[in-house]
């Protein structure tokens, strides 16, 4: 626990991201979703969550990237308690949505990046449909948008070293699934809520 707090504090100190006093939603369980700009995104959102919320939140993370070295594996499993998601050769038995759904069923919040990949231009791209399918399966769980600002300048795609620019994680008001809404309309609404 102490190690978790120390890592979170170091991440906040380096990126300038502030810790939230409390989450924007009332209940502890939530689906957090954010724009994806750098390898630091998961770490920074995880560090911005209040301590008690942080320990019950599992970020979704790319299996190939986070299993690639001992340090990343240790971070993903022991520190973030991440849900590792395959990006290639997706079949029925390793489907990302099932892994995320079982995490939510177990009472843990999740964090996903609905654009699917990192953008290098600082803009927010089109959302893939994963967020819609998850929201439909858990209509009562609040969807909390997080807009990440400036993180791509700290560690842009292709860079090996970070630069200490001040970044921000803006937690927006939660949105909810609406059964009468079609997929494209829902994804648009979710994207606009994130842009704020």
């Amino acid at each position: 626990m102490l190690l978790h707090s120390a890592i979170a504090a170091a991440a906040r100190l380096f990126t300038g991201v502030r810790r939230l006093p409390c989450t924007p939603q009332n209940e502890p369980l939530a689906i957090y979703y954010a724009n994806h700009t750098s390898h630091l995104d998961t770490l920074v959102i995880w560090a911005a969550l209040p301590g008690p919320v942080r320990v019950i939140t599992s970020p979704a993370a790319a299996e190939d990237y986070w299993n690639a070295s001992a340090l990343r594996r240790w971070l993903a499993h022991r520190i973030f308690r991440a849900v590792l998601i395959p990006r290639e050769r997706i079949q029925r038995d390793n489907h990302p949505l099932d892994r995320l759904a079982s995490c939510l069923q177990a009472g843990r919040s999740i964090l996903i990046f609905p654009e699917g990949t990192r953008r290098s231009d600082g803009k927010v791209g089109v959302f893939k449909s994963g967020l819609f399918h998850l929201a439909r399966r858990f209509p009562e769980v609040p969807l909390v948008p997080i807009y990440l600002d400036n993180l791509s300048r700290i560690l842009p795609k292709g860079a090996y070293v970070p630069v200490p620019i001040i970044a921000q994680a803006h937690f927006r008001e939660p949105i909810y699934f609406d059964a009468s809404e079609a997929k494209p309309a829902f994804l648009d609404r979710a994207r606009l809520a994130l842009l704020g």
Partner: protein, 327 residues
């Protein structure tokens, strides 16, 4: 330990105690909504002052090494705010890494070694030349001049200028050996007091804006009142400096004027970049750069005048530095 310095620091403590008391009384008596906001901001400023004064005093009492590290940290945080507000490009990334993690620490190493000769040219010559060299390797030509200029400015203002403050500790002042901490204190006190008193005068009887387009809250009354009072107070501290009273008055005036214009320049840059504050790190004040903007431009000027008129020579590193480098 210098008992004069302790006395001066206690004096600042007493001043802050008075300010806290006044702030508390104001918060009990203020009625209007606008007044409440102003007083809340005032009290946040005073609380932040306690922290800043405590950190500054501790490092000054702990000696040159601690003071150098403190100002290195301050430079780092100020440059971080400066670069964050500037629209840097992907092609600047590696250059910025050099600026933050290699040029800045090396420059402060020169402060720690008291190596004035290299200190004076390290950023204006070596870094100036290196930054476009590294940037050109990226192959990106769009925005080349503005990008390199932004980074050179960042280093000059946030690192080079600020580092003249701890370098004051290394000046071999005639008849003032071992008491340089008081000179540093005189400089920082004058610059900060000038800011505070300009704020106080401006809030109480400021009417005519002095630079409405650059810094709308600065008034003629605030500026003149603040600078006048600061020069009076700083002159009364001449006994703790290598200056005669009239010299202390001129030095204080120089610090105030350079501080005033420095504040305006940083304000103009801020507005050019579309921001009101440099950051939000110090409650009530804004960012670190908002607190030290008036020091930036005054520090090198004050250093050079002290060095020219009051020092035996420029600061020199210990002999082992040159022999270790094979000279």
């Amino acid at each position: 330990m210098d008992s004069d310095l302790k006395f001066l620091l206690l004096l600042v403590g007493a001043l802050l105690l008075t300010a806290s008391l006044i702030g508390w009384i104001l918060s009990r008596r203020v009625r209007s909504e606008a007044g409440r906001v102003t007083v809340a901001n005032l009290n946040a400023r005073i609380r932040s002052w306690w922290v800043m004064v405590a950190v500054f005093s501790a490092s000054l009492l702990l000696g040159q090494a601690f003071t150098t590290v403190l100002f290195a940290l301050l430079s780092f945080l100020a440059m971080r705010e400066f670069i964050t507000l500037n629209p840097t490009e992907r092609a600047d990334h590696e250059v910025l890494f050099w600026a933050f993690f290699i040029i800045l620490p090396l420059h402060y190493l020169l402060v720690g070694l008291c190596w004035y000769g290299l200190f004076a040219i390290f950023i204006p010559v070596y870094a100036f030349v290196f930054i476009p060299f590294r940037r050109v390797l990226s192959g990106e030509t769009r925005g080349f001049l503005s990008s390199t200029a932004r980074i050179q400015w960042a280093l000059l203002v946030c690192v080079y200028a600020v580092s003249h403050i701890p370098m004051l500790l290394a000046l071999p002042l005639r008849g003032f050996e071992g008491q340089n901490a008081k000179l540093l204190f005189f400089f920082v006190l004058t610059a900060q007091l000038s800011d505070v008193l300009q704020y106080v005068w401006g809030k109480t009887c400021g009417r005519r804006p002095v630079a409405p387009l650059v810094s709308p809250h600065k008034t003629l009354e605030g500026t003149l009142g603040g600078i006048g009072t600061t020069v009076l107070i700083s002159t009364s501290l001449w006994w703790a400096t290598p200056f005669a009273p009239w010299q202390a008055a001129l030095m204080a005036l120089l610090i105030c004027l350079a501080g005033f214009f420095g504040g305006l320049v940083m304000s103009a840059i801020k507005r050019d970049l579309g921001a009101k504050d440099w950051g939000a790190s110090i409650a009530g004040h804004g960012g670190f750069m908002d607190r030290i903007d008036s020091l930036c431009f005054a520090a090198p000027l004050f250093f050079h005048l002290c060095s020219f008129y009051f020092a035996e020579s420029d600061p020199r590193p210990p002999d082992w530095v040159f022999s270790w480098l094979g000279r």
